[in-house]
């Protein structure tokens, strides 16, 4: 069938099962926007290309399906570099289509030209510059295959205008339904080495102080169920990293919560004191390990990862298992189901863990009558007033850490955040993308005022496109996490962290964007505002919670310190560890 390249591109996306995409048109991508009118794909028109990228990420986080974004050349492409990098760091499957100047004009510094594939090389899993209309269907197929298999990640496809413009003979192509991928260098491995599984099982049976160190890879591998079975049949405690919150239920008795720089005391300390860490889809990130040579000094390591380059990158494993986390977890469970999980006595370890849990729970000083609102209190009230499977998105900073600490994540794919790159401004568009992917679930965006001001304009998109997310703005008038570091490590010299107490007027701003806006100043008004927000389902809601600026995120491992030197809240500082 004769087609032009633009029609072929949209057809190829439809064949990949794409039913929604996020984007913003412009000169170079214009011809591809025409066939969208006749397509079954829902296109969500964003207000800034960064929003399109983060929406696609939020969509992918919540659904497990690849997020798709389409933008124009030059500034459109550069504006989506941050989401690409974010997705690359957090292994989020994305396919991003960028317009490009006509093929013959590449390299001439044409209007809105930039070297998109050059710029995005190091922030994508792979990228393509398509030179021929006939190659479009194959390239799209390859892009989705690469984005979603192996270690997932973002793939960019750069499309010169002439090969999609029906007015140009170079756009003519012959459509065929069966195109073969041609990726001789791409062979992701998913199966696991049985010998390594047996060695790991032996090590697990013998361990006296084992901990399952669960990373985002478990969610990517859709392995939450398998993990639960493994944990229960072995009785081994689980920590879930920032990228894995929800991979194991927080309310489960074996769950120790989040480890790392702002992890809870028990999770951090159990890893430090462990004799075996079973790392599943985790990459020994510096925010988890603290000073690496002081991390879990007595622990042997079993490391399961689909990316061979992660095995031994940071910490040399005693048993390395390359492959899909779910396959590996199920294989381990099979071994234990057949031959038992061993009978090593772990009573002493369990009692140490419960001792830490009793002495060092997450804690903040509750506000006294007349005190200002505490951000942790807002999260707790929100958690208790929303359905169990509510999706929570966050930006980056104090509010993100409080949300990850004080929320109770009992379901996978309910936590959407920017971990590796730490992208302020992620929250609002990511929440929108999650809501688009899961329209029947309640989606709350827990954001900070610094982050909110970076991408809040996408609430206009949410209103216009009828995507009713809810925003809990923890507004302390500061870049709170930076303020915390300046307080603790720079002698309280606050440099460029105060935003403003008065502007913007968030309630009025929200209303101007078509949302319901509310403002809450005191603890007594929190519940009523949340209840009102939960009732509204025909437009976005923003609640401006005016919270105390002096609250700090505890516990904390100071940057460069060992996890053994975790700083606990003042009321716990004299307790025996």
């Amino acid at each position: 069938m004769q087609m032009d390249g633009g029609q072929a591109l949209i057809r190829a996306l439809e064949l990949e099962g794409v039913d929604v995409m996020f984007g913003l048109p412009g000169g170079a991508i214009l011809p591809v926007y025409d066939p969208i009118i006749d397509s079954s794909i829902r296109h969500i028109l964003v207000r800034h290309e960064q929003g399109a990228g983060h929406m696609a990420e939020g969509f992918a986080h919540a659904t497990g399906r690849p997020g798709v974004a389409m933008v124009t050349s030059g500034p459109g492409a550069t504006n989506i570099v941050t989401p690409l990098c974010d997705a690359h760091m957090d292994s989020v499957p994305l396919v991003v289509i960028t317009g490009q100047v006509p093929y013959a004009a590449i390299g001439t510094d044409a209007f809105q030209e930039c070297d998109t594939t050059g710029i995005t090389q190091s922030v994508t899993k792979h990228n393509f510059l398509v030179s021929d209309a006939q190659d479009i269907p194959r390239t799209i197929k390859e892009a989705f295959h690469i984005a979603t298999t192996g270690r997932p990640g973002p793939v960019l496809v750069d499309i010169p205008k002439d090969i999609v413009d029906p007015g140009n003979p170079r756009s003519a192509m012959e459509w065929t339904d069966d195109v073969e991928m041609d990726l001789p260098g791409y062979n992701p491995r998913t199966d696991v080495d049985p010998a390594a599984i047996r060695a790991a099982a032996e090590m697990i049976r013998a361990a006296e102080r084992p901990v399952l160190y669960v990373g985002g890879g478990v969610l990517k591998a859709r392995a939450a169920e398998a993990l639960r079975r493994l944990a229960e049949m072995t009785g081994i405690h689980v920590v879930t990293t920032l990228m894995a919150r929800g991979a194991f239920p927080d309310s489960h008795e074996l769950c120790l919560g989040m480890p790392g720089m702002h992890g809870n005391f028990t999770a951090v300390t159990a890893m430090q004191e462990a004799d075996l860490l079973i790392a599943l889809g985790a990459r020994f990130d510096d925010r988890v390990t603290g000073r690496i040579d002081g991390f879990a000094p007595g622990a042997k390591i079993i490391h399961v990862d689909i990316d061979a380059a992660e095995l031994g990158k940071v910490r040399r494993p005693d048993v390395a298992i390359q492959g899909d986390c779910r396959v590996a977890i199920e294989a381990l469970a099979e071994v234990f189901a057949a031959d038992g999980a061993g009978d090593t006595d772990r009573d002493a370890w369990r009692s140490r863990i419960s001792g830490w849990q009793e002495r060092f729970p997450l804690y903040y000083e509750p506000s006294q009558p007349g005190d200002s609102l505490k951000p942790q209190f807002v999260i707790e009230r929100l958690r208790d007033a929303t359905p169990d499977d509510t999706i929570v998105a966050s930006g980056v900073g104090q509010h993100q850490m409080w949300a990850s600490q004080y929320w109770c994540f009992d379901h996978p794919y309910t936590w959407v955040n920017s971990g590796g790159l730490g992208t302020m401004g992620f929250c609002i568009p990511a929440a929108i993308g999650a809501k688009v992917g899961c329209p029947d679930k309640m989606v709350w965006a827990v954001d900070g005022d610094g982050c909110f001001q970076m991408t809040a304009q996408e609430l206009v998109t949410a209103t216009v496109e009828n995507i009713p997310i809810k925003v809990a703005l923890l507004n302390n008038s500061y870049l709170g996490m930076v303020r915390q570091w300046q307080e603790m490590f720079y002698d309280e010299r606050y440099s460029e962290v105060f935003l403003s107490k008065d502007v913007p007027d968030y309630k009025a701003w929200a209303e101007a964007m078509g949302c319901v806006g509310m403002r809450v100043d005191s603890p007594e008004d929190v519940d009523a505002a949340i209840a009102k927000a939960n009732e509204i389902d025909d437009r976005p809601v923003v609640i401006d919670f005016r919270v105390s600026a002096s609250e700090k995120v505890y516990p904390m491992v100071p940057s460069g310190a060992s996890n053994s030197d975790l700083v606990v809240p003042p009321s716990q500082q004299d307790l025996p560890r």
Binding site: T117, S122, H126, L129, G185, D307, A308, A309, G312
Partner: protein
């Protein structure tokens, strides 16, 4: 890719990387080295007998990163089809040097004698200079270059090494 890793007892290791013959592939490889802080000692690129692929022979500095990590990161590049690691003791390595040396009539015989011993060729002779070429193992090329210094090197160009595994060790 290489399934086992030699104990890196040499500072420099040679990797022979078969890549898809597509535009931008060399840039991807170079960008990866720069991004991950791996140092390249030398690099040679040429097409293979199969037009779809090129071969990049890259000598890596193992003081900058462990060999295993370099190979694994390279292997993640979608356009990289195969990586062979050549242990310096188990490979045939060659490098080409072309050099113009100061050589008046009185010094030419002596220079040609050195050249013959090294197995090189005279490419052309000028009034006060000669242009020579030498193909050989990198060490021999190094030694010959050293030997030329007293004569006065006017211009010198080396290709970087190319390598293949010894016949009995090829897989």
């Amino acid at each position: 890719m290489a399934g086992k890793f030699h104990v890196p007892d040499y500072r420099y290791h040679t990797l022979v990387v078969k890549v898809e013959n597509k535009s931008g592939v060399l840039a991807r490889l170079a960008a990866l080295f720069s991004r991950r802080g791996f140092n390249i000692e030398s690099l040679a690129v040429a097409p293979t007998d199969d037009a779809r692929f090129s071969r990049i022979t890259v000598v890596v500095d193992l003081e900058s990163a462990p060999l295993e990590q370099i190979i694994k990161q390279l292997d993640k590049l979608v356009n990289v089809v195969e990586i062979r690691e050549l242990h310096p003791g188990h490979a045939v390595e060659r490098e080409l040097m072309i050099v113009t040396v100061e050589a008046g009539p009185d010094r030419r015989d002596e220079l040609v004698e050195h050249l013959d011993r090294a197995g090189g060729k005279v490419l052309s002779v000028g009034t006060d200079s000669m242009m020579l070429s030498l193909v050989g193992p990198p060490k021999r090329v190094d030694d010959f270059e050293e030997l030329l210094h007293p004569y006065g090197i006017i211009e010198l160009q080396r290709t970087g090494r190319v390598a293949l595994a010894n016949l009995d060790e090829a897989d």
